[in-house]
Amino acid sequence: MSLLQIFDLSWVAATIRLATPIALAAQGETLSERAGVLNIGLEGVMLNSAFAGVVGAYYSGSPWVGLLLGMLVGALTALILAVASITFRANQIVIGAAINILAMGITGVLFRAIFGLEQQVTVMSFKPYPIPVLSQIPVLGPVLFQQNVLVYLGYVLVPLLTIVLFRTHWGLAIRAVGDEPQAVDTAGISVIKIRYLAVLIGGALGGLGGVSLSLGQLNLFAEGMISGRGFMALAAVIFGRWHPVGGVLAALFFGGADALQLRMQVLGWQVPYEFMLMLPYVLTLLTLAVFAGRASQPKALGENYAREVR
């Protein structure tokens, strides 16, 4: 079996597809962390939104309603972190961990309450939508432009977020708040407002990532279905050096590993498939160990801000 058989165009297409949830969530987390708020609860945000997306699509029959509901629920989940850490100055890591546990519980209970004892619920989802002219481009066309709408959203989101962060006044304030909240406060900007907005939008984008998994990829909800992708998105933010483009590249790396292990299973390699399943997680661990230097991290990441405390 040759390498070309493994790393062919359908592997590339699968990489993009599998990377999308991680990449979208990483965009949201980049925004939040640039403002200095670490959302360890990203996994829980994605899980809640994946579920909300399925519920929305199930009742309305339209994946679009599911998408909106999913993003809303993502923002609401992040609101827990915002209120607890920005307003009440609770430890961000603790709250984030609590959000993850809460999401497991809530989605589990509601899932059974709404759908009974079915193990999985299948709903209307986002189908691949070839973009008319672009998908005709040889080689790249089918790979890049025969995906679903959520993938295309990602294409737009990354440059948009880059521009917002590095070209607008609001982005400047976000980056400054993540480094030196006191400087921002004394410059006459409300640290609280900036952080709330960044965390809530970050949560909505995390929700987008969750929906892209439940409605864009698996077309179902199952308990614990995020299975670590939220944490991979967190790793992608670090690996991508807190830059939107870097986050996407990192997500593609993880997605590529995921696609690879799927291929190897299909091609029937003589390795227990559990080992294959481990591959993306092992890579995440390795990249974190190698790249998680503190050098380029926002200086005030994880630190709450209060005026009179010194």
Partner: protein, 512 residues
Amino acid sequence: MTKPILEMKQITKSFGSLIANDQVDLTVQPGEIHGLLGENGAGKTTLMNILYGLYRQEAGEIYIDGNPVQICSPKEAISLGIGMVHQHFMLVHNLTVTENVILGQAKKGQLFINRQEAAAQIKAKAEEYGVELDPWAKIEDLTVGLRQRVEIFKALFRGARLLILDEPTAVLTPPEVEQLFQLLTNFVRQGNSVICITHKLHEIKTICDKVTILRGGRLVGTYVTNEVDADELAVLMVGEKAVTPVKSRKSGNNKVFLKVENLTTELDEGDSPLNQLSLEVYEGEILGVAGVDGNGQTNLAHCLAGLKQPKDGKMWWAGKEMNGLSAKVLAEQGLAYIPADRHGTATAMGMSLAENLICRRFSLAPFSCKGFLSPKAIEHYVQAKIKDFEIKTPSPLVRLAALSGGNQQKVVLAREIDGEPRLIIAHQPTRGLDIGSTNYVHRVLMEAAQKGASIILLSTELEELFAICDRIAVLYRGQVMGILPAQETYLREVGLMMAGRVEPKGVDDHHH
């Protein structure tokens, strides 16, 4: 009579049981430079933080141009024309000068940053005030003096008419102080006002029209600077306590204790690398190291304290090689290090006063017994130190960050000078301290020298060096330009050497 630009009436503010401001009044007229004077912890910064909307007073009113105002946030202070340059600068280090200045300055509906336009405006403003400022430089690449300039322009750009400066000269070199004063004079000539906090009485005399003095959170009074002299100011500031004059002492003996030969360090950011630096310090001697900040002082201190490995060169103390010894071993063998960076290197601000005091020896008896800390012994020791060093604190258990700057420094001294050190490296030990605390630090150092310790005092304040040192080495770009006896007659030479100009007659150290 014109309306005062600012009136603060009966301002009161407390932190827990501590009253930081107790019914304080302050009035500032247009066109006036107003000094604010007081010991460490007198409540100067607190009062200004209230004016800038960072703290909220419990009682008292503020009037701007005669109108009563509520200032709940810096945003409101800015819109009232108040600007503040803090004791610790409020700049985002990995952004550029322009980005820092325009932060929060978006006009209504303006989404995108126009860096070119903003940079041009900053350049124009700088020229108007006759100073240089590179709008494209990153803050982290700027000297402290330039960073301060950025802070001032940040305030000017927000249309400040009343500029508050919290100890602006503590970190500046003499020429930078000159430039700053020039800039302030230009600023008030246009009818604006300045409030300037400082511990240096001669600065008050030089640029301030009036001075308000605080003591222990209370107002002592407001005085016209021409009508009081520096000694009177000092007495007003500290109250009945006499200002302890610095005692003279006999200088060290002839035995060389520390010998440094051809010390050279790698290139790094922030400080000049050392370049073949050599010097000797005698037993019981205080060797001053003069020089403009950033000429290798930090590298020298770090090499000696075992925090940095030199690339080349050797160091001996008491005839034994010091190279390669860790900071821990050096400290155990009698090296005391008082770093310039009080917040980062010298202390753990989030930990208690007691923990900071014992953190060098916590693992040894009596503080530790069979692997556990013994609170009794610690308490006993800490209480004694608080008494000896007159550290003002509500309790030994408060976070160090809650103490005023002067008291934080006393904690560092108390810890380091404990147990007869043989070598003391003191880097800017009196930066930001009031006269009383400064004299206190000097006394502690001189007593240590009297007991036989060798001391290297790195300072940018010539006055301080000439007051307590035996000899003065001048550092310039990582090299020793010359070593002179600490006598006023050599003031000019030291000044020239600091600027990198060597005097041909180069007197050396043979006064022993």
